[in-house]
């Protein structure tokens, strides 16, 4: 495989996850914004999910890369 798709996918989700997670943290105290999402900070949780998914993808991609170069 010339381009391992896991790397860009992992990187993108890590980036978007961090963005939403940090945005979720900074808006945690805002009572207005999460009223529609049933008082649940969905930015925080979705961000967390994406960070985990992105990190896993990167991990698998990097491991495959290392075993190829060996």
């Amino acid at each position: 495989m010339e381009v391992d798709i896991r790397l860009p996918i992992g990187f993108m989700f890590l980036l978007l996850g961090l963005l939403l997670f940090i945005f979720g943290l900074t808006t945690q105290a805002d009572p207005e914004i999460y009223r529609r999402s049933l008082e649940i900070n969905v930015n925080l949780w979705s961000g967390l999910l994406m960070i985990v998914f992105g990190a896993l993808m990167l991990l698998f991609g990097l491991r495959a890369k290392r075993s190829r170069t060996k």
């Binding site: 990187f11 999402s37 930015n43 998914f53």
Partner: protein, 570 residues
């Protein structure tokens, strides 16, 4: 409907997504050296990637919004479009048909028809397929631009050009491989973007129990049994017991057999993904790997529709689907739900997921179009015997040309809605009999080119005649049927009519192909048919090391899970 106010986070999510999609296309650009690299992906892609691309290209914006709409309108029986309407066909494609597609060295589905039958059968299929893909991508582009106009207040032309331009750039740069790689990224984005919607909706409605009890009220108020919206097989015992107006026989034969096998096993849009796999084993596993997530997509796209219906039925919920004419505007389910539950941040993510689904569908159409155009039309009829460099160039030009014509089709859809409905109807007639031709071609060596061609024509004619003589209940326009003057039969719903149109088309193609094949001489020699027909092809041995890596084992797992799901939601 009020439009959304997007914040800087939402736009950042969108821009990051755009950057990655374009970046993948750019990274693949230097590997595009031959027409095969560009149009067939160089046959080098692992099975898990082609498998996810296989279902992602089908998961376009129209599919996402349409399935949510059906979820609201018909409830849980919409899952039949997945569990009976896709899984058996995907298993059949992987186990029985892929060996001939992949092993035949054909580069496209029309080319297989040329090798197996003759030039006219290929020409008919290639031209109708090319026109169809262009219009399909035009219609979905139109739908997306309309949505962006109502939701975000974006200018229609701006939406069309920005979405078409991004798809054009990444498919022009990296060809089929870029489309497939991006489809994988888009698939994950669609799942992660819509997941919070399902969770919030279920929490709000009181879980599956809450949803069942709310929808039971809706069902009984319409005169159905309490479970009509939340069960899958019990309501289809009788056409009068379910809102879709369909009974089990029409469902299994029409949707489960003719329509679903016709789509999943012969449509080059999806088959092309499997043909791009790196080995025979990977090609056969492509639809089977795709089937695993495919079975769970209903929970992502149909559940939001059902939740929307339950919320609408509850006057205290504060949520109601907009009214259109004398019924609800079901197509607005997804945008309405996004706006109802998502705060700024995930709202951008949800909208980006919607755009990703649009792009995966459009890129699928564009890459299938440029291959069929270049190999099956240009190289075959217009300019044969040129250098491969010339065909690479033509493939790239076809990409640009395909996107431009789709843009034209999108504007045509905006101006003349009827023309588009009419075209979709014609394509439905052309597609309906196709599976009979492939079934006979692959498994009966006596089938001849004349038999296949006239069988296809008769199947298309049978579909048109059936549609012209029947009507769904309450039809007001001739586009819905009955245009031959007399109405012989009235179906309880449009869905039921569609299923039966397909059944008639299939069997008429089957019978006519057999009769004409028996009356005409086989023009292909045994050698020519080797690798194309079951009885003349040596049985392939799967190269997998372990039994649990073989396609057969995967097929059993997929089948068992589909049966378990059907029993749980019986």
């Amino acid at each position: 409907m009020e439009s959304f106010a997007l914040g800087w986070v939402d736009y950042t999510v969108m821009l990051v997504y755009f950057a990655f999609v374009l970046g993948i296309g750019y990274a693949l650009k230097r590997y595009m050296k031959s027409s095969a690299d560009f149009l067939t992906g160089g046959k080098s892609i692992p099975a898990w990637i082609t498998g996810l691309a296989f279902i992602s290209t089908n998961l376009g914006a129209l599919e996402v919004m349409g399935m949510a709409a059906s979820g609201a309108k018909y409830g849980m029986i919409t899952t039949h479009f997945y569990w009976i309407g896709a899984i058996p066909a995907m298993i059949f494609l992987g186990l029985f048909m892929m060996p001939f597609y992949y092993g035949s060295k054909a580069r496209s589905v029309p080319e297989y028809l040329k090798l197996r039958f003759d030039e006219k059968t290929r020409g008919f299929n290639a031209v109708s397929f090319a026109v169809m893909t262009i219009f399909a991508s035009g219609i979905s582009m139109y739908a997306l631009a309309m949505l962006m106009e109502t939701l975000l207040g974006w200018n229609f032309t701006f939406s069309i050009f920005i979405s078409a331009l991004i798809v054009l750039i990444y498919t022009y740069l990296g060809g089929l491989k870029s489309a497939i790689y991006n489809e994988v990224l888009q698939f994950f984005l669609i799942v992660i973007g819509f997941l919070p919607l399902v969770f919030l909706g279920l929490i709000n409605i009181g879980g599956w129990e809450g949803l069942t009890s709310k929808l039971a009220e809706v069902a009984t108020s319409h005169g159905y049994a309490a479970g009509a919206y939340t069960e899958t097989w019990r309501p289809v015992a009788n056409a009068a017991d379910n809102p879709m107006g369909i009974e089990w026989f029409g469902l299994i034969m029409g949707l489960g057999f003719v329509l679903s096998f016709g789509y999943w096993c012969t449509n080059f849009l999806v088959v092309q993904r499997a043909m791009a796999a790196g080995s025979m084993s990977a090609a056969r596993k492509t639809p089977l790997i795709g089937a695993l997530p495919k079975m769970f997509i209903p929970f992502l796209v149909i559940l939001p529709g059902m939740i929307a219906m339950a919320l609408t039925s509850d006057p205290n919920s504060g949520f109601s689907l907009p009214i259109k004419g004398n019924t609800y505007d079901y197509d607005k389910v997804i945008p309405m739900m996004l706006g109802y539950y998502f705060p700024t941040g995930v709202l951008g993510l949800g909208l980006t997921a919607l755009m990703a689904s649009f792009m995966s569908g459009m890129a699928g159409n564009v890459t299938a179009f440029n291959t069929v155009w270049t190999y099956d039309i240009y190289q075959s009829y217009i300019s044969p015997n040129k250098s491969d460099k010339h065909y690479l160039w033509m493939g790239q030009m076809a990409t640009v040309f395909g996107v431009l014509v789709s843009i034209g089709a999108a504007y045509m859809a905006k101006l003349f809605n009827n023309v588009m409905d009419f075209l979709q109807l014609v394509f439905a007639f052309i597609n309906a009999p196709l599976f009979a031709t492939f079934l006979l071609g692959m498994f009966w060596k006596r089938t001849t080119g004349h038999g296949a061609f006239y069988g296809l024509l008769s199947g298309t004619a049978a579909a048109a005649v059936h549609h012209g003589l029947t009507q769904p209940a309450g039809a007001t326009s001739l586009i819905k049927g009955g245009w031959l003057g007399t109405v012989v039969h009235t179906y309880p719903s449009e869905m039921a009519q569609n299923f039966w149109t397909a059944i008639f088309a299939f069997f008429s193609c089957l019978v006519i192909t057999i009769i004409i094949s028996l009356l005409t001489k086989q023009t292909k020699t045994r050698e020519e048919l080797t690798g194309l027909v079951y009885s003349l092809t040596p049985r392939i041995r799967d190269e997998s090391k372990h039994w649990y890596q073989r396609p057969q084992f995967l097929a059993v797992i997929v089948g068992v899970i589909a049966v378990i799901l059907s029993i749980i939601f019986w």
